[in-house]
C-alpha cells in the first residue's frame, strides 16, 4: 500500500521534484511545472464550464419548452417525451464521456509539456496511458 493513511497529506509543493544539479535549474524546473499545471487547470476548467452549460441547456430546454416540442414527433415518440425519457439522459452520458476523454487528452499534453525526464507527476500521467 502506498496510500498515505494518516494525517492529511500535505500538498506536494512543486519543489518535491527530484534533486537537480543546482539551485537555478531547480527553480526553472519548478516554474515549468507550475506553468504547465496552471495551463492544465485552465483547460480543464474551460472544458468543465462548456460541458456544464450544455448540461444546463439540455435539461432546461427539454423541460421548459416541452409543451411546444410535443407537437413534433420522432419515430412515433412525441419529441418532448423522447427527450425526457431518453434523449437528455444520452446527452448526459455523452457529456461525461467527453469530459473523461478531454481531460485525459489534457493530461497527456501536460506530460508532453514537461518533456522527457519530467517530474514524477508527469511520469504517472504518461505511465497510465494505455
Amino acid at each position: 500500500m502506498t496510500m498515505p493513511t494518516d494525517p492529511i497529506p500535505l500538498p506536494l509543493p512543486a519543489s518535491s521534484a527530484p534533486v537537480l544539479d543546482d539551485a537555478g535549474a531547480a527553480a526553472q524546473r519548478q516554474l515549468a511545472v507550475l506553468g504547465a499545471r496552471s495551463r492544465h487547470w485552465q483547460r480543464t476548467r474551460r472544458l468543465s464550464f462548456v460541458l456544464l452549460a450544455l448540461w444546463l441547456a439540455a435539461t432546461f430546454c427539454s423541460v421548459f419548452f416541452a409543451r411546444e416540442l410535443a407537437a413534433l414527433s420522432l419515430f412515433g415518440w412525441p419529441l418532448s417525451f423522447y427527450l425526457a425519457a431518453q434523449g437528455t439522459a444520452l446527452v448526459y452520458l455523452a457529456i461525461v464521456g467527453a469530459y473523461a476523454a478531454g481531460v485525459h487528452h489534457f493530461d497527456r499534453r501536460y506530460a508532453r509539456e514537461l518533456g522527457p525526464g519530467a517530474a514524477h507527476e508527469g511520469k504517472t500521467a504518461r505511465g497510465e496511458t494505455p
Partner: protein, 682 residues
C-alpha cells in the same frame, strides 16, 4: 500496468462464469417448474440462493486492513467500479417503484429519470476526480481538509457538520431499503415481514461486516448483473409481445400512438363516464356530510348503533354482528376526526372521478397557470434530484476506490452507462404495461379476471396493491374501476406478460438485489462516518489501525440493527420522506463540496455558515409545506412541492457560503496549496 490488466482479465472471467452459472440456475428452475415444483419453493430457492451468494462473496473478500476495508484497496478497475456504483445507486425505489410511478404519473414521472441520470454530470465534472486526487476515505474527510479551521486547524466543526448530514440522509434512505427487503421477502416466500427484514439483514451484515468496502464492491457487481437480467427479461418479453421488437428502448415508440388512441377512446367512453359519475356522487355525499358536521357525525354513529341493535335483536349471524361492530370501531371517534377522514375520502373519490391523463402529454392542466405550475415543479424536482445525487455520500465515497484519477473519470462514465441500461427501459416498461392493462384488462369480464389480479389483490389486505370493484355493476371492468398501486407493476409484470413463475422469482431476486446493494453502501457510509470521522479523527486520533477497523465493524452492526428495528415498525412518515433526502443532501453538502474545489476564497467559517443555512432553509421549507411534518400546501413558495425544497436550500447555502467567506479572513497559504494539489494532474 501489466498486473492491472491481468487483474481486469481475471475479474471479467469470474463474472462471466458467474453470469453463466446464474443462467444455468434459471434454466434449471424453469425445468423444475415445468416438472411441477410448487411456486413457493421457487420463491424460497431464489431468496436463499442469492442471499447465500452475497454472503459467500463477503466471506471470500473478508479483510481487516484499513485501506481494503474503507476503499477496497483502491484497486477496483473503472468498469467494475461503474457496475458497483450503478448497483449502489439503483435502489428498491428505482427497481420497484419507478416504473409504477411513471405508469401513474405519465410525463411528470420522467423527472426522476432525468434527475437521477443528470446528477452524474455534476458528479463527474465537479466532484469525483477531485475526491480521488485527495485520496482519503470519506466525504467529511475531504471537507475537513479543505476547510481546515476550528481547534488546531483540523476542520473538526466542518467535519462534524458533514457527518451529521451524512447520517441523516443515509439513515432515512437505508430504512427505506430494509423496509423494501422485508416487503419483497414476505410477499414472495410468505415469511413474516420482520423475519424477512432480518433475513435480508443477515446477508447485508455477513457481507459488509466481514469485508467492508472490498466485499461490498464485489457483491455489488454480482448484484448489478442480477438486477439487469431481472429487469430486462420481462421488459423485452412485453416489448416483443406488443411491438414485435425485443428491444424495449426502440420499440415503445410504436406503442405510444396506440396508447394515446386508446386513452382518447376511454376518456369519452359512456361506461367510463358512468363510473366516474358514481365517484363524483360519492365525493358529493362526503362534502354534504362535512358541511353538516357535527350533526352528521352524531347521526352516522347512531345509525350504526341502531343497526347493531337490530342485528342483535333478530339474532343475526355472528359474521353480521362482527361486521357491524367493526364498522363501529372504524367510525371516527370525534367530529374533528370525522372531518379529516371524510375530507380524505372526498379527495380520493374526486381523484378517481377524473378522466385518465394522457400519458405522453407534458404538463396537462385545465388552464395555462396550472400547467405552468406543473412545469416549474418538474424543473425544480429535476434540479433537486441532480444536486442531491451529486452530494450523496454513499455514491461519492465510491470515487475513492479506483486506482487513479483517470480511472475515476472513466468509472463515472461506466456508472451512468450501466444505470442507463436499466433506466432507459423503465419508461418503456411503464408504457407497455399501461397499454396491456388498458387493452386487455379493461373491457374484460369480472368473472374472468386474470390470475395475477386476484393474487396481488390478496397479498396485502390492508393496503391492497390492486383493487378492482364492479362500481356500476355491469360485470365488465372499466378503467375507472381499477385502483392500482405503483409498486405492483414491476413485481407483476412477468405474470401480466404471461411468463412462467420463474421469472417472477427472478424479478423478486432483482428487487432484493437492488435493495440490498444500496443498503450495503449506505450502512458503510454511515458507519465509516461514525468510526473514521467521529471516533478516529475526533475522539481518539492515536487509535491503532486494527482498533479502527474493529470499531467500524461494531458500529456497522449497531447501525444495521437500529435501521432494521426502525424499518420493522413500518414508519410511514420516514418512507414518505426518502425523496426529501435528496434535497437535504444537496442543500447541505453540495455548495461546500463544489465551491471547495472551484473557489479558493471559500473559507472555514463560510463553509460552516453555508452548510448550516442550506440545511436550515431546506428543513424549514419542508416543515412548513409537508403535510406529514405538520405543514400545509398554503405555505408553499411559487407553488413548489416540499420534495423540491432543495431549489431554495442550495442557492441559500451557496449565497451564504460566498457572503460569509468574503466577509471573513481569506484562507491561508496551506489551504491554497491544498487546492492546487487536488486540481493538479497526477
Amino acid at each position: 500496468m501489466i498486473a492491472a490488466r491481468a487483474r481486469f482479465a481475471r475479474l471479467s472471467r469470474h463474472y462471466l462464469y458467474f453470469t453463466g452459472c446464474f443462467g444455468a440456475f434459471l434454466l434449471a428452475l424453469a425445468i423444475l417448474e415445468k416438472q411441477g415444483m410448487p411456486r413457493v419453493w421457487i420463491g424460497y430457492l431464489f431468496m436463499f440462493a442469492t442471499i447465500v451468494l452475497y454472503a459467500a462473496i463477503g466471506v471470500f473478500s473478508r479483510t481487516s486492513n484499513v485501506s481494503e476495508y474503507y476503499v477496497a484497496g483502491r484497486r477496483v478497475p473503472a468498469l467494475f467500479n461503474g457496475m458497483a456504483t450503478a448497483a449502489d445507486w439503483i435502489s428498491a425505489a428505482s427497481f420497484i417503484s419507478l416504473a409504477g410511478g411513471l405508469y401513474l404519473r405519465g410525463f411528470d414521472g420522467l423527472a426522476y429519470i432525468m434527475g437521477w441520470t443528470g446528477g452524474y454530470c455534476l458528479v463527474a465534472l465537479l466532484i469525483a476526480p477531485y475526491l480521488r486526487k485527495f485520496a482519503q476515505y470519506t466525504i467529511p474527510d475531504f471537507l475537513a481538509a479543505r476547510y481546515a479551521g476550528g481547534a488546531g486547524g483540523r476542520g473538526t466543526p466542518v467535519r462534524l457538520m458533514a457527518v451529521g448530514a451524512t447520517i441523516i440522509v443515509s439513515f432515512t434512505y437505508v430504512v427505506a431499503q430494509i423496509y423494501a427487503v422485508g416487503l419483497i421477502a414476505s410477499r414472495f416466500t410468505g415469511v413474516d415481514f420482520s423475519v424477512g427484514i432480518f433475513l435480508g439483514l443477515a446477508s447485508i451484515l455477513v457481507c459488509s461486516f466481514l469485508g467492508g468496502m472490498r466485499a461490498i464492491t464485489w457483491t455489488q457487481v454480482a448484484q448489478y448483473i442480477i438486477i439487469l437480467v431481472a429487469f430486462l427479461i420481462p421488459t423485452m418479453w412485453l416489448s416483443a409481445k406488443h411491438a414485435d421488437n425485443p428491444l424495449p428502448h426502440v420499440a415503445y415508440g410504436a406503442v405510444l400512438p396506440k396508447l394515446a388512441a386508446r386513452e382518447a377512446q376511454l376518456a369519452s367512453d359512456p361506461k367510463e363516464l358512468a363510473v366516474r359519475a358514481i365517484f363524483t356522487q360519492r365525493a358529493d355525499a362526503y362534502a354534504q356530510r362535512i358541511k353538516a358536521l357535527p350533526a352528521s357525525w352524531e347521526a352516522g354513529r347512531l345509525d350504526i348503533l341502531r343497526e347493531l341493535d337490530a342485528v342483535r335483536r333478530r339474532a343475526g349471524s355472528l359474521i353480521d354482528i362482527r361486521a357491524t361492530e367493526r364498522r363501529l370501531a372504524a367510525y371516527p371517534k370525534t367530529a374533528d376526526e370525522a372531518a379529516r377522514l371524510w375530507a380524505d375520502l372526498q379527495a380520493a373519490n374526486l381523484a378517481r372521478a377524473l378522466p385518465p391523463e394522457p400519458h405522453a402529454t407534458p404538463f396537462p392542466g385545465p388552464d395555462r397557470e396550472q400547467s405552468d405550475s406543473r412545469r416549474n415543479n418538474f424543473l425544480a424536482l429535476v434540479f433537486c434530484l441532480m444536486l442531491g445525487t451529486a452530494a450523496l455520500p454513499h455514491i461519492l465515497m465510491r470515487s475513492y476506490t479506483t486506482p487513479s484519477v483517470r480511472e475515476t473519470r472513466v468509472s463515472v462514465f461506466w456508472t451512468l452507462f450501466f444505470i442507463l441500461l436499466v433506466y432507459l427501459s423503465i419508461p418503456a416498461l411503464a408504457v407497455m404495461v399501461k397499454y396491456d392493462i388498458y387493452t386487455q384488462l379493461v373491457g374484460s369480464e369480472f368473472s374472468h379476471l386474470p390470475n395475477w389480479v386476484s393474487y396481488w389483490a390478496s397479498v396485502d389486505k390492508q393496503n391492497p396493491l390492486i383493487a378492482i370493484a364492479d362500481i356500476n355493476r355491469d360485470g365488465i371492468v372499466q378503467l375507472a374501476e381499477i385502483a392500482i398501486d405503483g409498486d405492483v407493476l414491476v413485481l407483476a409484470t412477468p405474470e401480466i406478460g404471461g411468463l412462467p413463475y420463474v421469472i417472477s422469482g427472478l424479478v423478486a431476486a432483482g428487487g432484493l438485489a437492488a435493495a440490498l446493494s444500496t443498503a450495503d453502501g449506505l450502512l458503510l457510509a454511515i458507519s465509516n462516518a461514525l468510526s473514521h470521522d467521529v471516533y478516529y479523527k475526533v475522539v481518539d486520533p492515536a487509535a491503532s489501525t486494527q482498533k479502527r477497523v474493529t470499531i467500524s465493524k461494531l458500529l456497522l452492526l449497531a447501525v444495521a440493527f437500529s435501521a432494521a428495528y426502525v424499518a420493522s415498525q413500518k414508519p410511514a412518515d420516514i418512507l414518505s420522506l426518502v425523496g426529501a433526502a435528496f434535497s437535504l443532501a444537496g442543500s447541505t453538502l453540495f455548495p461546500a463540496l463544489v465551491l471547495g474545489v472551484f473557489w479558493k476564497r471559500a473559507n472555514h467559517i463560510g463553509a460552516l455558515a453555508g452548510m448550516v443555512s442550506g440545511f436550515a432553509v431546506c428543513t424549514y421549507y419542508m416543515l412548513h409545506t409537508h403535510p406529514i411534518l405538520g405543514g400545509s400546501a398554503a405555505g408553499q413558495w411559487f407553488h413548489i412541492a416540499p420534495i423540491s425544497a432543495g431549489v431554495f436550500g442550495v442557492p441559500a447555502g451557496m449565497a451564504v457560503l460566498v457572503a460569509v467567506s468574503l466577509l471573513t479572513r481569506a484562507p491561508d497559504a496551506l489551504s491554497n496549496s491544498f487546492i492546487d494539489h487536488i486540481r493538479a494532474p497526477e
